[in-house]
Amino acid sequence: MKKSAFLGALTVASIAASAAVAQDASTVDQIKERGKLNCGVTTGLVGFAAPDANGQWNGFDVGVCRAVAAAVLGDANAVEFVPTTGKTRFTALASGEIDMLARNTTWTFSRDVDLKFEFVGVNYYDGQGFMVAKDLGATSAKELDGATVCIQTGTTTELNLADFFRANDMSYEPVPIETNAEAQQQYLAGACDVYTTDASGLAATRATFEDPSAHVLLPEIISKEPLGPLVRHGDNNWGDVVRWTLNALVSAEELGVTSANIGELSASAGDNPEINRLLGTEGSLGEMLGLDAGWAKRAIMAGGNYGELFAKNIGEDTPIALARGLNAQWTDGGLLYSPPFR
């Protein structure tokens, strides 16, 4: 026993040693060599990232990972999804365990500057909201003095909440909770009066209730929560790849490029020069990024453009039923505004 166990220890140690990889090459090269993109996601949030029975990850954030993988590697399935918690996500990214993080992470000054990350854009404009049971009779967050509030820990929400109640000189009782599922359970059982998190999360959670109409979202949005994918400082080229893949998805929607018509549009150069540049039938944008000409085409084909991703995962036809709101194109009165492909 003793001897055999020792042998085992060394086998594992040798596997561990051989798993150690030097990190000198650029991120894109590393990903290409590995053949997989390591993408950090949540351990599970309805509509944004969750594994199905076969272990396939689906969701809005997952869509971004797949688009990047398609752009870099040409295969939307060449993604290794690394579930991260609020606590482990930043160290996972900083240590190079993941190449990018697409885990509804709020873009803040200190994360960008102090934690040395680079937010490449915003894939969902969110804000912290409140959900209460209808029979509580509250119509405004200002009426919540003395309420018990469920919050998810490890996020910016608890700081916003403290600020909000202090600014309005109200008292409250915070109930910090690790996961959305538990928060939902406590809220439904009446262990807290209010559930607060990003408004998208509230809507997604409410959608799965037995009787969604018994709960209301209060009108106050107490914070700005621009959620977006991020990468480490130090490899600007890789940051550009992720940033422009996201922009490509947004631009594609603006320009009317969908997964349905992309084959046709990319077959040959058409009338719209920006579509041509985006899809690589004109110019050499892909080369500038260090990729090939078809990178954006593949990214869009992976799960559709931004609008399609939205509609498929969290849009109004899904049970989550989020309206586009701020996340509509700037042409429709929203905030989505991709810099031009030029």
Partner: protein, 496 residues
């Protein structure tokens, strides 16, 4: 007068005991209603049992096994009734057991036979250590049977033939063993024990097979790792002949370490390019569910055993600095909660390693859990060493054995044997503690239950998932603790 007898010379026939002290009634009177206090306790317990069952059973028995989502379950049960939605288990039990281990859905073959075989072989490997009443022959039969079934499962012409041959051999030997009568069997067992190789050989090979089965990749890597021991052994033999045993040990260790650190992967890659044999590589990220818990538990215990032995010996030694280091390590690890060590694994271990080193979270967790387990293991083994009668040490000294020989030949075999129940309970503890990895985002059963609840269809289900997980843990731990108790009783009679 002499034939007058006042003493009865024959016994009265036994009378049946009164009806109230035999049978069900008697048993109940004795065990349930033997006094006022007891009767009250009995009634209170019965009421308690009834209340618990009445609350749970109607919920458990609900016809929702085929439900496809929570709403579907609600419809099946009918509105207003509160009942379990077992559809989630039906849908996800494989995921709870195997995590994301390739199941063929992403293309490629279903690989989940590998953890199953590794687990079955684990049993075969620990059998000679833990159940020493099983004869050598049965142990080999077990091994043949497992390998045969694997061959059959894998299919293909070769697999079929190999599988059938192995199963046939196993069946034949097993049949022969069972069909001989008892005395003949005892003789055969004795003869077989001499003829057959020691099953511990397989136990020694297993630590190389198991990682290969689980992680896949080329078979030459584990073989190369095993070669390290051969190299170390020969280095020891030659060096000790020339330079003495202590230098021999040092040379052997250095040689083996150089082999592992520098040459193993070179060798494995070289041979693999000539003769590629291997399984599809599976990254440890794909591990999840119970498979992850068992892997962490088994690897941690297996690796912590040698470390624990060294620490226990160090703690007992007269060398002050060595002792202080060992005590410091043991007390430090035992003084902090596992969760802080897991925080180290998830956030700090990469910072402690040379820049650029990056190994994935499961290996980091394995390292930290191993360190954690080895401190506890050291205490268990120290207990075993302390329980050995003083005379054993003195006898070893009297025979003129040096420290290492005495440890290897006399002390350790006995101390380890006494420690087995403690080792098993340490294993149970570590196995249960693997649920903590869900806090740092690994998808063990508990972590997976959160991920499953993030699926539209199953959002909000709590009891079904927790119940299922708790049941599996209970079955696993309960059977092991029973086994450890049985072992303790056996060792007890043998050693006092």
């Amino acid at each position: 007068m002499s034939d007058m007898s006042y003493v009865r010379s024959e016994m009265l026939p036994e009378r049946a005991p009164p009806a109230s002290s035999v049978g069900v009634v008697g048993w109940m009177r004795q065990n349930l209603f033997s006094g006022i206090v007891n009767s009250i306790l009995t009634i209170v317990s019965l009421i308690l049992i009834y209340m618990v069952l009445a609350a749970i059973l109607p919920w458990v028995f609900s016809p929702t096994w085929n439900g496809t989502s929570q709403n579907d379950c609600r419809e099946i049960v009918g509105n207003g009734h509160h009942a379990a939605c077992w559809g989630v288990i039906n849908d996800r039990w494989q995921q709870l057991l195997f995590g994301f281990y390739p199941n063929g859905s992403e293309g490629g073959a279903d690989q989940r036979w590998r953890p199953i075989v590794a687990f079955a072989l684990l049993f075969v490997a620990v059998t000679p250590v833990l159940f020493n009443m099983i004869s050598r022959r049965m142990n080999w039969v077990l091994l043949l049977a497992v390998l045969g079934l694997t061959g059959l499962y894998l299919g293909g012409a070769v697999g079929m033939i190999v599988g059938l041959v192995l199963l046939g051999a196993a069946g034949f030997v097993g049949f022969k063993a069972l069909s001989t009568d008892k005395e003949a069997r005892a003789a055969e067992i004795e003869a077989g024990a001499k003829r057959l190789p020691n099953p511990l050989i397989f136990s020694a090979i297993y630590p190389f097979i198991a990682p290969w089965l689980l992680w896949g990749g080329t078979i030459w890597l584990p073989i190369a790792a095993a070669l390290g021991f051969v190299i170390g052994y020969f280095a020891f033999v030659f060096a000790s002949r020339a330079l003495g045993s202590l230098i021999g040990i040092i040379v052997a260790v250095v040689a083996a370490i150089i082999w592992w650190m520098v040459l193993t992967s070179v060798f494995a890659n070289a041979v693999d390019s000539i003769l590629p044999i291997g399984l599809e590589a599976v990254e440890s990220r794909k591990f999840g569910g119970f498979m992850l818990s068992i892997t962490i538990g088994v690897v941690a215990i297996a690796c912590s055993l040698p470390i624990g032995i060294v620490l226990a010996l160090g703690r007992q030694s007269d060398l002050m600095i060595v002792k202080a280091l060992c005590v410091g390590f043991i007390e430090f690890i035992r003084g902090v909660p596992l969760i802080t060590l897991l925080f180290v694994a998830s956030t700090l271990l990469n910072i402690f390693m040379p820049p650029g080193t990056n190994f994935d979270i499961i290996l980091r967790v394995l390292i930290m859990v191993t360190l954690f387990a080895s401190a506890y293991m050291a205490e268990v083994i120290r207990g075993g060493l302390a329980a050995l009668p003083r005379g054993q040490y003195e006898a070893a000294d009297a025979l003129g054995l040096d420290y290492w020989k005495a440890q290897r030949l006399i002390i350790m075999p006995q101390a380890l044997k006494i420690s087995i129940p403690g080792i098993v309970s340490t294993f149970i503890g570590v196995f249960k503690d693997t649920t903590l990895v869900s806090i740092i985002g690994l998808l063990d059963p508990l972590g997976l239950s959160n991920a499953i609840r993030a699926d539209q269809a199953w959002n909000g289900l709590v009891w079904e998932l927790y119940g299922f997980i708790a049941l599996l843990f209970f079955v696993f731990c309960f059977s092991m603790s029973r086994y450890s108790m049985y072992l303790e009783r056996r060792l007890h009679t043998g050693h006092r």
